[in-house]
């Protein structure tokens, strides 16, 4: 087997706050291979963004990586010095963010920001960098790319801005692209454009993509593999088919049931009761147990481990497969 582009093992990221330690990411294991797309789903606050920022080495201040390894192309980058990390960041691992409206610097032209990204990693003249920038804008299919180079972010629509972000991320031809909810803020029609674009670009370059979202529709659209997170932990992992056709964890199931579907008529949605626990008051045992209709005393006392059910389908539930416990 080839070495995964990214392999995360036991990653734990902690925020030290006045209310106590917050384990935003708690012992997460993941892997993504070349040319494949890993989607991470989960509700707000479950640690998706922090996970991706941990990989980038950009955990915001009170936080730090407390444990675990992050192998990028076989090399552990978890303990790298800031300077070394900078050579990887934006170069081999690129990232795009959720809010295209605010993720670009409003006071610099689009071209400047792309050129800056290129010249941070490649010793090229500004002219050549500009040509490369134009090239990458063309790649993301922005209409009239020459003109856009000298425009400011506020002159672009949300979709175009997100394209610029992608162009910027791809300008150094990274091997791994992390996209943190790249389409959430966009309209459906634009969302479709962006997802198609990402898929096409991946086919072209063969990069690995880690895409974070809370929309199962998006997952279905683009993922090869899926990891479902709940309260800092991965509760289920598998191929996209596994997750959609054979969801094992009650939380994954709940997510499926909560989603109204266009294709099917239901009178009443299956809602998950209650809400995500606050990060500094996590329940004993399985973190989902207070909201889980299947929970029993074991669930309330013991944390389930992520275990393989099938080849490549892992779930962290004492009750999996559910039918056995029904």
């Amino acid at each position: 087997m080839t070495v995964p582009v990214l392999e995360i093992a036991g990653l734990t990221t902690i925020f030290r706050t006045s209310m106590g330690d917050v384990r935003a990411v708690d012992g997460v294991d993941l892997a993504v291979e070349r040319g494949r797309t890993l989607c991470i789903v989960g509700e707000s606050g479950c640690g998706k963004s922090i996970l991706s920022l941990s990989v980038m080495g950009l955990v915001p201040t009170p936080g730090r990586i407390a444990q675990g390894e992050i192998f990028f192309e076989g090399r552990n980058i978890a303990g790298l010095s800031p300077a070394d990390m900078r050579t990887i960041r934006g170069n081999q691992i690129a990232m795009i963010f959720q809010e295209p409206m605010t993720s670009l610097n409003p006071v610099h032209t689009v071209g400047f920001q792309i050129v800056e990204a290129i010249r941070a990693h490649q010793r090229v003249s500004s002219k050549a960098a500009r040509a490369l920038a134009l090239e990458s804008l063309k790649k993301v299919r922005i209409p009239s790319p020459e003109r856009r180079l000298d425009e400011y972010p506020h002159q672009l629509s949300g979709g175009m801005r997100q394209r610029v972000m992608i162009a910027m991320a791809l300008s150094c031809e990274p091997t791994l692209l992390i996209a943190d909810e790249p389409t959430t803020a966009l309209d459906v029609t634009i969302q479709a454009q962006i997802l198609n674009l990402l898929r096409d670009l991946q086919a072209e370059t063969g990069m690995a993509i880690v895409l974070i979202t809370h929309d199962l529709g998006v997952v279905a659209e683009i993922a090869d593999d899926v990891a479902v997170m709940y309260a800092g932990k991965v509760v289920e992992r598998g191929s996209v088919g596994d997750i959609f056709d054979d969801p094992q964890h009650p939380y994954t199931l709940g997510l499926m049931g909560s989603m109204p579907r266009i294709d099917e008529e239901t009178d009443r949605l299956v809602a998950i009761d209650g809400m995500v626990p606050p990060p500094f008051r996590l329940p004993q045992g399985c973190r989902f147990n207070p909201r889980c209709p299947f929970a029993d005393d074991v669930c309330r006392s013991e944390q389930p481990q992520l275990t393989a059910l099938d080849e490549g389908h892992l779930v962290a539930c004492h009750k999996a497969p559910l039918e056995l416990y029904a």
Partner: protein, 364 residues
């Protein structure tokens, strides 16, 4: 059918002037936020409005509530013309129409307790006295699955879903006939979204409410609506019964929207055909059909002549010159049904869920 609509809008229009000058008196441009829309809302009915960001959905909600003055058109509530209703009349009408907002974090006054917030409509309208108001607040809290003691707390102590419940409770305080929901679930997590949607549906059944339900989530709209209006750049391009809109959309924009909506079905991957381009600015909308800049079926006529809403065979109305002739869009046909495993597990989950709930109710 001679049933009187609860709310009836005809040619409703709202222009926001862009002003300049020292005292901002000079109008240099207009945002045509809502540009001549007609719709009715029947009693006990949910009319859903879908459309992309900036197409004028919120403006329409505000117009329907008479929170802003329409630039043109008429608005009737239970047959009474309220387009230019005086302050006093409007106050009376406010008891019958309420609104629930999108942002659960911005829609509650952070300086008031939840009980005060919920009681406020009653105080403003002088309904009941102190004790009876307190009683009603408790009842409402219970109705939206919150505990009476929650009334003493401030909004910041609640999660987004809970806040949205508080917003719903406030809207219910005066037992209105119509509730305008401006994207009530868009800001919420999926699991919470389902809770709120269920709550709204329950309430409608119990209290015979009508909803003007605004959303950009096609799936949610399909789930809650009786009728659906699709908006594009300030205009309704297609309106009609849910089945017709989803089953046999006649306007190319509706079709595109449906096609673009992500489906939780990995097998359909790559079949989406995407709509090119962005929504034009409502400040200078394109002439003729407003959709012609993005329409895959555009003809010469579309660039010159603005199409009107026309009655279609499926029972809906569409505003497209070629509504009858454009290819049929049939997403449901290509859609694969959920796997048997998933179906079974969902049923199990539901069962357990209901059981757990009644358990909890019994112990409480």
């Amino acid at each position: 059918m001679t049933m009187q609509p609860l709310l009836e809008a005809r040619g409703l229009q709202k222009l926001f002037p862009i002003t300049k000058g020292i005292f901002r008196r000079r109008v240099v441009a207009e945002v045509r936020a809502v540009d001549g829309v007609d719709f009715d809302i029947m009693p006990r009915e949910t009319l859903a409005v879908v459309g992309e960001s900036g197409c004028g959905k919120s403006t329409m909600a505000r117009l329907a509530m008479r929170l802003i003055e329409p630039s043109a058109g008429t608005l009737r509530f239970e047959g009474e013309d309220i387009t230019h209703a005086e302050k006093g009349d409007m106050r009376r009408l406010r008891r019958d129409m309420q609104i629930v907002f999108q942002d659960p974090y911005a829609s509650l006054n952070p300086r008031m307790t939840v009980a005060e917030i919920i009681a406020e409509p009653m105080v403003v309208h002088g309904v009941g006295d102190g004790p009876s108001q307190r009683e009603r607040v408790k009842e409402l809290l219970r109705r939206v699955d919150l505990a009476p003691y929650h009334g003493q707390r401030y909004p910041h102590e609640f999660s987004g879903g809970q806040r949205q419940r508080i917003g719903v409770a406030r809207a219910l305080a005066l037992s209105p006939k119509l509730i305008v929901c401006d994207e009530p679930v868009s800001a919420l997590d999926v699991s919470i979204q389902a809770q709120i949607v269920n709550l709204l549906q329950d309430l409608q059944q119990e209290m015979g409410l009508s909803y003007l339900f605004i959303s950009h989530g096609l799936a949610v709209v399909k789930h809650v609506a009786d009728r659906v209006a699709v908006m594009y750049l300030g205009q309704i391009v297609e309106i009609g019964p849910k089945a017709a809109i989803y089953g046999n959309p006649r306007h190319p924009y509706t079709q595109a929207l449906l096609a673009a909506a992500p489906q939780p079905d990995p097998s359909r991957r790559g079949q989406r055909h995407e709509l090119a381009g962005d929504v034009p600015s409502p400040m200078n909308p394109p002439p003729g059909c407003r959709f012609h800049t993005r329409c895959p079926f555009v003809q010469e006529r579309c660039r010159a002549e603005m199409p009107m809403l026309r009655e279609m065979a499926g029972g809906q109305q569409a505003a497209c010159h070629f509504a009858e002739t454009i290819p049929v869009y049939a997403p449901a046909l290509t859609m694969r049904a959920p796997s048997a495993k998933l179906k079974a597990r969902l049923a199990l989950y539901k069962e357990r869920h209901v059981a757990a709930k009644s358990d909890a109710a019994a112990t409480a």
